[in-house]
C-alpha cells in the first residue's frame, strides 16, 4: 500500500506537483492519466525515491521513502520513462546486476533472472548487447528489471511507449498477469490503454489530482445523457424536420461538417454531411429517456431509411478532455455531477455552462447562442443554427 500525503514538488517557482493526496490499495492496477507535463513522471520519481519532495510524504507499506529509503525501496520495482539500461552490457549481465542491486540472494539470482526473461520474452536475446537491441526489446529489458524479484509494488512509467501493436497487447497481458500478485501503477497519456488495463484511474492535470475513480464511474459522472448516433441519406434540414416532432430531445444543433465538428456535449443533435449524401447526426437524449424507438418511427413515418441507429456512451476521452483542458477543472467536474441530477434544465443555461467549460470554443459557442435568437420551439425541442452557409446549401438540396 502506498500513501501519498500532501505531496508538493517545486522547481524554482514552477510547481510540478501541487498538493497530491491519494492512497494506492493492494492488488489493483492503477492508471495515472494526464497530458504531457502534468506531473505524472515527477510524482512517480518521488514515489520511488529518485527525487525528493518539497513538501509532503510518501509511505510505502508504512515506510517513509525518505526516512527509511532502503526498506521502502525493497517493495518497489520501477520502470522509468526512459529504461535505465547500460548499453555496454548484455541483457543477462544487466539483469544479474539489477538482481544483485535488489539484494536477491545469490542462490536465487540465476533462477529469478531466467524467470523474468521468460515472462517478458527476452530469453532469446539474453546474450546480446543492449545497445544492439531495438526499442521494443529495450523497453522489455527495462520491464524485466522492474519486475525482477517480484516486488509488491510495480511502478511503470509509460510502459508501452515505442512498442508495436502486438507488443503493446503482450505487455498489457503481462500487466494483467502481474496484477494477480502485485499492485501495479502505470502512467500513460493513452486513454484506451488505461481504460482497458486499469481498475482505477487517477487523472492528473497541472500537478493536481482532478479525478480518482474507476473508469466506469468516471464515464458515468460526466454522462448525464446518452448519445444516439444516426446516419441517414437525407439533408440536415430534412433531418431536423423529421426529428422536430420527436419528444424527449432537448436541443438540436446543426453544424457544418467541414470545419471540425464540435461534438455535442449537451442534449442536442449534431449533423455532419457525409460525402455520398449520407448525413451523420448525434442526438443527445434527455436523461432517463430512450428516444431510439421514437426516432426510428419518425423516420419510418416519413418513409426515410436509417442507415445507422445506435446508442453511444460518453467516452473516457470526453472525461479526460473535460478535466484536463481547463484551469477551473475541479469546479467544472463538480458542476457536471450536479447537472446530472437536474433533469429539466433549459438549453440556454447549459450553453452558458458549456461556454465556461470550454473557453477555446468561445467563438463557435457564441455563434450558437446568437443563433438562439431564431430558436423555434416545437414539441419540447429547441433548435440552434450554427452555420447559415451550410443551411443554404442544404436548402438548395431540398
Amino acid at each position: 500500500m502506498i500513501e501519498v500525503r500532501n505531496l508538493v514538488k517545486k522547481y524554482g517557482s514552477h510547481i510540478a506537483v501541487d498538493h497530491l493526496d491519494f492512497t494506492i490499495e493492494d492488488g489493483r492496477i492503477y492508471g495515472f492519466l494526464g497530458p504531457n507535463g502534468a506531473g505524472k513522471s515527477t510524482t512517480m520519481n518521488i514515489m520511488t525515491g529518485y527525487l525528493g519532495a518539497t513538501e509532503g510524504e510518501v509511505l510505502i507499506n508504512g515506510h517513509d521513502i525518505l526516512k527509511e529509503p532502503e526498506e521502502a525501496k525493497k517493495h518497489i520495482g520501477y520502470l522509468p520513462e526512459l529504461p535505465p539500461l547500460y548499453m555496454d552490457m548484455t541483457v543477462r549481465e544487466y539483469l544479474e546486476f539489477a538482481a544483485e542491486l535488489k539484494k536477491i540472494p545469490k542462490k536465487k539470482r540465476e533462477d529469478s533472472v531466467t524467470e523474468v526473461e521468460k515472462l517478458v520474452k527476452i530469453k532469446d536475446v539474453e546474450n546480446r548487447l543492449i545497445k544492439n537491441l531495438s526499442k521494443g526489446y529495450r523497453q522489455r529489458v527495462g520491464l524485466a528489471q522492474a519486475v525482477l524479484g517480484f516486488p509488491e509494488i510495480i511502478i511503470l512509467d509509460e510502459p508501452t511507449v515505442g512498442l508495436d501493436p502486438k507488443q503493446i497487447i503482450e505487455i498489457r497481458e503481462l500487466i494483467r498477469q502481474l496484477s494477480k500478485r502485485h499492485t501495479v501503477i502505470l502512467s500513460s497519456h493513452i486513454l484506451a490503454e488505461v481504460r482497458e488495463v486499469c481498475d482505477h484511474i487517477l487523472i492528473i492535470s497541472k500537478g493536481k489530482l482532478v479525478a480518482s475513480d474507476t473508469p466506469e464511474n468516471l464515464e458515468r459522472m460526466l454522462g448525464d445523457a446518452d448519445t444516439i448516433e444516426i446516419e441517414t441519406r437525407a439533408t440536415r434540414a430534412r433531418i431536423r424536420d423529421v426529428l422536430k416532432n420527436v419528444p424527449g430531445i432537448g436541443q438540436i444543433t446543426c453544424e457544418d461538417g467541414k470545419d471540425g465538428v464540435t461534438f455535442a456535449r449537451i442534449r442536442q443533435i449534431t449533423c455532419e454531411d457525409g460525402k455520398d449524401g449520407v448525413t451523420f447526426a448525434r442526438i443527445r437524449q434527455r436523461r432517463g429517456e430512450d428516444v431510439r424507438e421514437a426516432v426510428f418511427r419518425a423516420f419510418a413515418e416519413n418513409k426515410m431509411t436509417l442507415l445507422t441507429l445506435r446508442a453511444a456512451h460518453v467516452s473516457l476521452e470526453d472525461v479526460f478532455m473535460e478535466l484536463t483542458q481547463n484551469d477551473t477543472v475541479p469546479d467544472a467536474f463538480a458542476r457536471r455531477k450536479n447537472e446530472a441530477e437536474l433533469t429539466d434544465e433549459i438549453a440556454q443555461g447549459q450553453a452558458e455552462n458549456a461556454e465556461e467549460i470550454m473557453p477555446e470554443e468561445d467563438e463557435s459557442r457564441k455563434k450558437m447562442i446568437s443563433g438562439g435568437d431564431e430558436i423555434e420551439s416545437a414539441s419540447g425541442a429547441e433548435w440552434v443554427e450554427t452555420d447559415g452557409e451550410g443551411d443554404e446549401t442544404n436548402a438548395g438540396d431540398l
Binding site: 529518485y50 525528493g52 529509503p69 525501496k73 522509468p80 539500461l85 544483485e100 535488489k102 539484494k103
Partner: protein, 288 residues
Amino acid sequence: MLAIYKRELKSYFQSMVGCVFIAFLMVFTGIYFMAYNLTAGYPYFSYTLSGSLIVFIVGIPLITMRSFSEDRKNKTDQLLLTAPVSLGKVVMGKYLAMATVVGIPNVIFCVYPLIIKSQGTAYLKVDYISILVFFLLGCVYAAIGMFMSSLTESQIIAFISTFGVLLVLYLWDGILSMLPSSAVSGLVGVLILLSVIAFYIWHMTANYVIAGAVEAIGVAASVVTYIVDSSLYENLLSNLLGRLALANVFTDITSNSIVDVTGIVFYLSIIAVFVFLTVQSIQKRRWS
C-alpha cells in the same frame, strides 16, 4: 555496493578507457624507466615515478569523467537511486572501481625495483613506499575527479574541469610564490576564503542564517585575532595554501627520501572529504 563495484570495473575494461589509461601510464613510465634507470643507471625507481606524475594529470580525468555524468545523462542513475542501496554505497562502489583501475599499473610498477635490483643496488624501501604514495595520490586525484563528474551531465566538462583543477594543483608551488606575505594580505586572504566557504554553504543549503552566521563569526574571529597578534598572519597564506600542493608529499619521497606521515593522513582525509562532497552534490540534485 559490490554489484556496483563489479559493474563499474568491468565497464572500464569493456569501454577501453581503463585499458587506455593503464597503457598510457605504462608506456610513459617505461620510457622514463629506460632513460633514467636503465640507460643512465640511476638506482631509484621513485625518481622515474615522479616523471610519470604528469601522466596522472591527463589520465585520471579520463577515468573519472564518466563516473556520474554518464549515469545522469543516460538516466541510469534512476536504477541506482531507486534500488535499495544507500547513496553512500553507490558512491563508494564507483570510487573503489576507479581506485582499482588506478591501482593496477601500480601493482605492475612493483616489478621495476626488482629489475633494478637484479642489475645491482636498489633502494627497495624507498621505491615501494613511493609507489604506495603514488597510488594514494592517484586516489586523491580520482576523488576530485569524481566530485567534478557528479556536478555535471557532460563528460567533456567533467574532463576539462578536473584537468584544470589538477593542473593548478600541480603548478601550485609556482603560483604560491607570487602570493604576498605581509600580515594584512594574510587577513584579506583569510576573509576571502571565509566568504567562499560561506557562499558554498549558502549554495548547498539555501539557508541565509547559517551562511551568514558562519561569515559573521569567522570575520569577527579573524579580525580580533589580527588586532591581538598580527604576526600570526605573516606568511599565513602561503603556509595555509601550501598544503594544497598535494604532490609535495610524493615529491619529498622521490627527491629527498623523506616520508611525511602527516601527508599520507592528509591524502586520506582529502579522499574522505571529496567522497562526502560527491554524496552531497548528488543528494542536492534530488532536492532541487
